[in-house]
């Protein structure tokens, strides 16, 4: 049986870095993570810097933090490895991993249903509108 299920999972990894971290250090950290992803056969889908934000509560005596969002495609073991790295990295103060492929599947299904429903609707709606305009 082909192990295709391993690389179908899409995860969203959001982590907070201490606010006094320099841009280059952030890039270094991100590139370390990205190389870890590609070395275990995964794929980085996107990387987004959400900027400095005020934290809702104090984390490790910090009131602000730099949020970074990383979307990764890979298996569970890959996430295990990434989280291990984030745990030992000193500037990272919090992280959260969410699996999003199931949710994405559900959203795509709903979108498809909506598209399919919308296509036959405009045709009778147009004729109905025309007749209404004529009679009114």
């Amino acid at each position: 049986m082909a192990r295709t299920y391993e690389t179908n999972r899409v995860y969203e990894l959001m982590f907070i870095v201490r606010p006094d971290m320099v841009e280059e250090e952030q890039d270094k950290l991100i590139s370390t993570l990205e190389s870890a992803v590609s070395s275990s056969g995964g794929k980085v889908k996107s990387m987004e810097r959400m900027g400095k934000r005020r934290l809702a509560y104090t984390v490790r005596r910090f009131h602000d933090g730099i949020y970074i969002l990383l979307t990764v495609e890979g298996g569970g073991a890959l996430i295990h490895e990434l989280e291990r790295r984030l745990r030992v990295t000193e500037p990272v103060i919090k992280f959260l991993t969410v699996r999003i492929d199931e949710e994405q599947k559900r959203l795509d299904k709903i979108k498809k249903l909506r598209e399919a429903r919308r296509k036959p609707a405009p045709a009778p709606a147009e004729t109905g509108g025309e007749t209404a305009a004529v009679t009114a």
Binding site: R53, A56, Y57, G65, V98
Partner: protein
């Protein structure tokens, strides 16, 4: 759910009447709270547990067809969080059950990543 609670409270009050002075008071005592005719017009859903109709509240997500409730959009989530940081029950916001479940899941994720507080004012 709150309605069921009041219904079961009344018989419980009846049965555990060991220290009741007389049986004649029972109809009044069993009510637990006096019936208020101003229920639908007045508070309109603020107090839970009223047996009367409250005006129909619609689920914001069903109406606006918002399917994805992400933990990242704090502004949307903060509408369903009280000043104390607690998640507002759906009988007050009118959210339907599946959306409330997803909403509370998203709020808990946002709390974990310090986008929303666990307790206290949402900044």
């Amino acid at each position: 759910m709150a309605d069921e609670k009041t219904a079961t409270l009344a018989p419980a009050g009846h049965s555990s009447g060991g220290d009741r002075p007389s049986g004649g008071d029972r109809p009044d005592r069993g009510e637990r709270r006096p019936p208020r005719p101003g229920g639908p017009g007045g508070p309109g859903g603020r107090e839970g547990g009223r047996k009367y109709f409250r005006r129909k509240k619609v689920c914001k997500f069903c109406v606006e067809k918002i399917e994805a409730i992400n933990y990242k959009d704090v502004r949307l989530l903060a509408q369903f969080v009280a000043e104390s940081g607690k998640i507002v029950p759906r009988r007050l916001t009118g959210v339907c059950t599946p959306h409330q479940r997803r909403l509370s899941c998203a709020i808990k994720q946002a709390r974990n990543i310090a986008l929303l507080p666990f307790a206290g004012r949402a900044s």
